[in-house]
Symmetry: C2
Subunit: 65 residues, 2 copies
DNA sequence: AATTTATGTCAAGCACATTTGACATAAAGT
DNA sequence: ACTTTATGTCAAATGTGCTTGACATAAATT
């Protein structure tokens, strides 16, 4: 599962910690998702989609990286 | 998390078992998701989206039912 | 040069997604 | 009436999402 979180953060000049707080998860969770350690749950993906006002498919993509 | 799996199945006259095989998960998993026992993983949501050729948001919605 | 900030990573633990195998029930088919 | 099919549900096991706390390192700040 690839994702554009790092880019979306960079566009907003947000740290992993900023994003973690916005998503109400831990910094380690954001880091683990960004670095491909695991996939977010569907509810967390929805939360990110709402936050960035993008479809889930525009943030996450189903292919390996 | 609400979802339209039951309707999408019905439109195609598919059983839970049919859907489970198409998604490569167990029948119990499909049943549990349909009956709201738990949310699918993000990869499984992507698989359903691909199967039905719909955006994830058109199959699952982030509100409780 | 010393301190703070951002990122990456590890380990232990809890919660939840998914499995298999089983059983119950209602509806449909024979 | 009997059998099969579809659905719902349970229990135990396994894997993964997510937590906190901790430590390391590199970059930025002072």
């Amino acid at each position: 599962m690839k994702n554009r979180l790092k880019v979306l953060r960079a566009e907003r000049n947000w740290t992993q910690n900023d994003l973690a707080q916005a998503l109400e998860v831990s910094r380690q969770t954001v880091n683990a998702i960004e670095t491909g350690k695991f996939d977010p749950s569907l509810p967390l993906a929805f939360k990110a989609a709402r936050l960035f006002q993008l479809p889930i498919e525009d943030i996450f993509s189903d292919q390996e990286d």
